[in-house]
Symmetry: C2
Subunit: 221 residues, 2 copies
DNA sequence: CTTTGGCATGTTGTATACAAAATGCAACAC
DNA sequence: GTGTTGCATTTTGTATACAACATGCCAAAG
C-alpha cells in the first residue's frame, strides 16, 4: 500500500473550495467586507462557478460569509458586539465541556493532560509563543474530546472558526501569560478531582479574560 | 399596484427551496434515512437542480441532511445519543440565555412574561395542549430575545430545528404537566429577582426533564 | 448453485450557456 | 453645474448539457 499520494477518497470539489476559502479568509487574504467575484474566484481556484457557489452556501451557514440577493457574497466584518456575543456562547460551551469531561475523565487521560501541561510550561519558560499556542490548543481540544459530545465539539468548532477570521495576535504581556499558565494547572487539578463545577468556573473565567485581550486588539487595528 | 402576486422582494430560489425542504423533513414527508433524488425533487419543487443543490448544502450545514460523495443527500436519522448530545448543548445554551436575561430584564418585560404565564396557565387549566405549546414556546423565545445575544439565539435555533426532525409528540401525563407549569412560575420569579444562577438551574433541569420525555417517545416508534 | 465480470441504466458532479439584475458612465435637460 | 434618464457592461441567478460515477442485472465460469 502506498500512502504518499491519496489515490482514494478524494474530497469533493465544493468541500475543497470551501476549505480553501476558509483559509483565505482566516489568513486575511480575503479581507472582512470584501466582495467575492464568482468568475474571478472560480478561475483563481481552478473550479467552475457551480461548485464554488455551493462552497459559498456552506461558508454562509458557518457565518463566514453573507450572501445578498443579486449582489453576491461578501466576507463578514465582525463588530465588537459580535465578538462579545460569540465569546459568551463559547464560554458557556467550553464550561459544559469541562463539566462533562470532569465526569468522564480517566486517570490515564489526566496523566496525558499533565504531560501536555508540562510541555506547555516548558514552552512558557522558554517564551516560545508558537509552541505555547499549539499545546494550549491541544489541551483544550483534548478536554473537548473527553467530554464525548460530538454536537458540542462541532458547535464549538464552528464558532471558533468564525472568530478566527479576526486573526488576532494576542498581545500577551508576561503577567497575563503567567496567570494563564497557572489557570491551566488549576484546570487540570479540577479535572483530576472530578470537580465539574469548579472546572466550569475556571474555563468561563479563562474565556472572559481572552475576550478582553481580543477586544483590546480590535480597538487598534 | 397589485398585491395578489408578489412582484417585489421575492425570496431567492435556493432559500425558498431550503425552507420548503426543511418543512418537508420536519413534517415527516421526507423520512429519516430517505435518499433525495435531485431530478425528482427539482421537478416536485418546480426548481432546477442548481439551486436545489445549494439548498442541500444549506440543510447539510444545519445538520438536517448528510451528503455522501457521488451518492447524493439523505435525511439524517438521529440516534438516541445524538438527541442526548443535542439536549446537553441546548440545556447549556438555554441556561446561558436565562443568566443573561436575568441581568438585563426590565420590569415591563417581567410584566409581559407574567401575562404570557397567565395565558399559559389558562391553557393548562383547560387542557388545551396546542395553545399551551404555542405560549410555552413564546415564553422561551421571549427570554431568549431579552438575553440579547443574536449568536446565542441563532445557535439555539439551529439545534432546535435539527431536533424537530424527530416530530416527537410529547406524551404529557398530567403530573408532569402540572410540574412543568409550576417550574415556569419559578422561572419568571427568578427572572424578576434578577437571580441568574437560579434561573439557569431551573432551565437546565427543565430541559433534562424534556430530554427524558423525548427519549421515551423514541423507544416506541 | 454461487460467484464474478461486464454491460446497461440511472444518478450525481461539473461546466457552460443564457437570462435577469445591478452597476457605472455619459448625454441630456433643467 | 447638478440631477436624471437611458444605455452598455458587468455580475449574479438559473437551466441544461455532458461527463464521471454508482447500481442492478444478466450471463458465463467455476
Amino acid at each position: 500500500m502506498d500512502g504518499s499520494h491519496f489515490p482514494i477518497a478524494q474530497m469533493a470539489l465544493p468541500e475543497a473550495a470551501a476549505e480553501r476559502l476558509r483559509t483565505l479568509i482566516i489568513e486575511g487574504e480575503l479581507a472582512p467586507g470584501a466582495r467575492l467575484n464568482e468568475r474571478e474566484l472560480s478561475e483563481r481556484l481552478g473550479v467552475s462557478r457551480t461548485p464554488l457557489r455551493e462552497a459559498f452556501r456552506m461558508l454562509a451557514s458557518d457565518g463566514l460569509l453573507v450572501q445578498l440577493p443579486n449582489r453576491g457574497a461578501q466576507v463578514v466584518a465582525l463588530s465588537a458586539d459580535d465578538v462579545r456575543h460569540a465569546f459568551e456562547v463559547m464560554a458557556s460551551l467550553e464550561g459544559l465541556s469541562g463539566e462533562l469531561a470532569a465526569q468522564r475523565v480517566t486517570d490515564a487521560e489526566v496523566a496525558e493532560l499533565r504531560a501536555l501541561q508540562a510541555e506547555m510550561e516548558a514552552a512558557h519558560a522558554q517564551r516560545d509563543l508558537p509552541n505555547y499556542y499549539r499545546i494550549n490548543r491541544a489541551i483544550h481540544d483534548r478536554i473537548n474530546a473527553i467530554a464525548a459530545n460530538p454536537i458540542l465539539t462541532q458547535t464549538f468548532r464552528t464558532l471558533n472558526t468564525r472568530l478566527h477570521a479576526l486573526r488576532f495576535r494576542s498581545n500577551l504581556v508576561p503577567a497575563k501569560w503567567d496567570h494563564a499558565v497557572a489557570e491551566h494547572r488549576d484546570m487540570i487539578d479540577a479535572l483530576a478531582a472530578h470537580d465539574g463545577v469548579r472546572l466550569r468556573d475556571i474555563l468561563v473565567r479563562h474565556l472572559k479574560t481572552k475576550l478582553q485581550a481580543v477586544l483590546e486588539t480590535m480597538d487598534t487595528p
